[in-house]
Symmetry: D2
Subunit: 261 residues, 4 copies
């Protein structure tokens, strides 16, 4: 069965800015989903901020293997309820891929536990993406580096925890560097941040970028059944202990109670 | 100058439960602070949930090198504003030490980005804490293992990210194991979780536990000046680029503007 | 195509000790390989110390996707040449799974860069293996814990680097704990250490242990083509620089030379 | 007591190449040691390849808190016995700092367990070193970036394991990037790799580079007593078990024996 992938797009710039609308006539989310759908192992659809529950009701997330997120101008409009819903699914095993300005998306900050900030410059300068982890599944089929002739600059320090793997680092024409591809594990969920993708440039039409996204979907997919009780903290009654023990000393709780949260 | 340490205590069980009040007449927070103050390199005071702003106004946090947190019954009563204030100070360099049931404290969940759950049993059983990282600064002066004759059991899986260092793992009489000492880095802040410390047992009067806490304060202390602009994402104007570049292509932002968050 | 797996067995105890020969009449290596071959996605064969080049000539390793290693009494008899050959294949993408007493195998110490030591006791005591990373691919289909009624004890501290993921931690009847399942990445190769498997007990006949081994083979398999030049450090001549630069200042090397090693 | 630091220099280029001898009349090792000695908390001396036991007899290493290593042309001439001696001291708690071309030093490859390779170009091009971990102790007092106008280029992929912390990443004029400051923990020893320092340029006379080296010495210093039995794997006799157990089943070893290595 193909990997059920949802590309979430904020869909604001595409509606308000002619340049962006010109580069991505169907919206950035559909440009990405269309590219993913050329891989027979992936089945991609889209969701946007403007839909009810931002297009991410619980029923849909339950059938989503990997969620891709692009946001920028409207991070603050994403409801906290949807954010928590997404994050719990990630902990339960849903893959999560954050693109470019989603470094400031609530869902990313929520799973990182850090500010996720950086420096930036919008000058259409050259970005060169270097593979730093040879033969990492996300770098499959890529050359050792590739260039994007026009991109926004993001510069270090990038306010994130040290990753599981540093897959890409970018060189910028104006003199900065940035860790452009980082993997994390949060609960049973695989998380990948990928830097390129400023809205005014045709980045998501680039063949290497599309290959990274396809690879990342395969990498992020955890085929195990989603964990249902992912935040539960079950009490183990004394008489159910695996080794025989006798209760000793004072206690605050009753057997099998839920505990404080 | 000694390390300015604040021991934050929820201070609920001590007021409501005679057993806890008997074990910790001045409250758990003062038992911990008194122990820390026997180390001439540490200057410890306390703060509690019941004080205005939970005893943690911005002015006090600005002068706190390391914050220790014990909470259990009233995690939900801690204001989100104080939580964000604490977390930003951690990112800026304040050390943070979480004790026992603080695995479910808002501040811990906030910096971990994971559910932080576990299994548990309150039977006064034996816990044996093993040092897994020889000569780690937090294990300084400890034997290779030590025992707590009566403790609450916490069992794996512990819902946290893989740590920077696994310093302790506990063996429980009833058959479980638990990663009892874990270090993390969040921004410039050092974070340490330490498992023992159930309120009905005299754990914080134990000499080995007190030594761990002293060591942890020294380890968590980042002597660099606190970062002030820890969430800023500054724009670098084109004419300030370190290498000369010319602006190319369309742009969405103006030079020096704040960007979307 | 099934994952081409070679189970390397030291094959010493099986020849010299009647108990071991009784538990594993075909040798431990064949017990493991036979179990793996019940998975249609795996094609397992064996190699032993006593064969020419220990059964691991370069031509065979080139066609091996995952190598499993069990050694104990004869670590010192493994030739350094074969060790380097194996390690280079790991860096190039071959998976490597180390079992039990292979914690002291040359190949494991070589890729860890640490002493890999531990404490031990041979008393046939109970081991309980806890899953610490829910839904990790290596834990697929396992219960949250499983028991081995008779095993050798290995105790912390385990002299290894902090892993990429801690998948299992063991509880021992005699009071110790041990990190029983640890993952690492070395170059393009995935490395997994799995603790159970003392030669005098029927551990490799246990259904849960066999499931771990099958899962580990799938996890360790990197389907990308093996990297051929995995230790090369190529010179980039000045006139091949991606951005135009002019040579400046004194130099020691000539364009395109090999450099010092 | 100041941190007892030994700067090990290969001392080959300084003897054979007039340019290098001109830049470093006392040798690179003394240039570094002299710089460190301006910090009252550090007491630095030197050792070289040409001395008996390369200047690193066991008695000296026992009194060395931090060892700094610069090598290039003669990696192969370093005796394996000295390498093992150094590595065991690192595991026991001695700090180790590797400079520039020491990426291919035997001691570094030995503790990494990876090829440690990279790409390179000697063109005297500009390197800009970015701090990627704000307020990391090794970055204390540094600006957010600093430049070295003439340096050798090292390019990714750098064949090392994912580090504990990525402290610096370099931008190169010719279009490459490189992880220039990486920390690791090996046993009780702190390990730091720092990229800059090509022999034909005055890099070790640069104030920012000298500050990094001083900071790194303080960071790498583990004040705990050196572990003496760092590779021991002690047997725990059955009657010494912490929880009472009875011996069951067949066994291969005798109580208290040394075990196989």
């Amino acid at each position: 069965m193909p990997i059920r992938t949802v590309v979430w797009g904020e869909n604001v710039h595409e509606q308000k800015n002619k340049v962006v609308a010109g580069v991505y006539p169907k919206g950035m989310h559909w440009a990405i989903a269309d590219a993913l759908n050329t891989d027979s192992g992936i089945s991609a659809s889209t969701a946007t901020l403007q839909e009810p529950e931002h297009g991410l009701p619980a029923s849909r997330l339950a059938e989503t293997d990997v969620l891709i997120w692009w946001g920028h101008a409207a991070h603050g409009e994403v409801s906290d309820e949807v954010v928590e819903r997404v994050v719990e699914q990630v902990w339960g095993g849903m893959g999560l891929i954050l693109l470019h300005s989603a470094h400031f998306a609530k869902v990313f900050k929520r799973v990182m536990g850090t500010p996720c900030n950086l420096t930036w410059r919008e000058a259409g300068e050259r970005e060169r993406v270097w593979v730093t982890s040879r033969n990492h599944p996300i770098a499959k089929g890529l050359p050792d580096h590739f260039e994007l002739e026009n991109e926004e600059m993001y510069g270090e320090p990038f306010g994130v925890p040290e990753p599981q793997d540093t897959v890409f680092i970018s060189w910028f024409q104006g003199g900065e560097v940035f860790r452009s591809g980082l993997t994390y594990k949060r609960g049973a969920g695989n998380v990948f941040y990928f830097r390129p993708g400023h809205e005014t440039y045709p980045t998501y039409h680039d063949a290497n970028v599309q290959l990274v996204l396809k690879n990342a979907v395969h990498w992020a997919h955890n085929p195990a059944a989603r964990i249902q009780d992912v935040t539960a903290a079950p009490n183990v009654p004394v008489d159910m202990a695996l080794e025989p023990i006798e209760e000793r000393g004072p206690r605050l709780h009753h057997d099998g109670e839920e505990g404080f949260r």
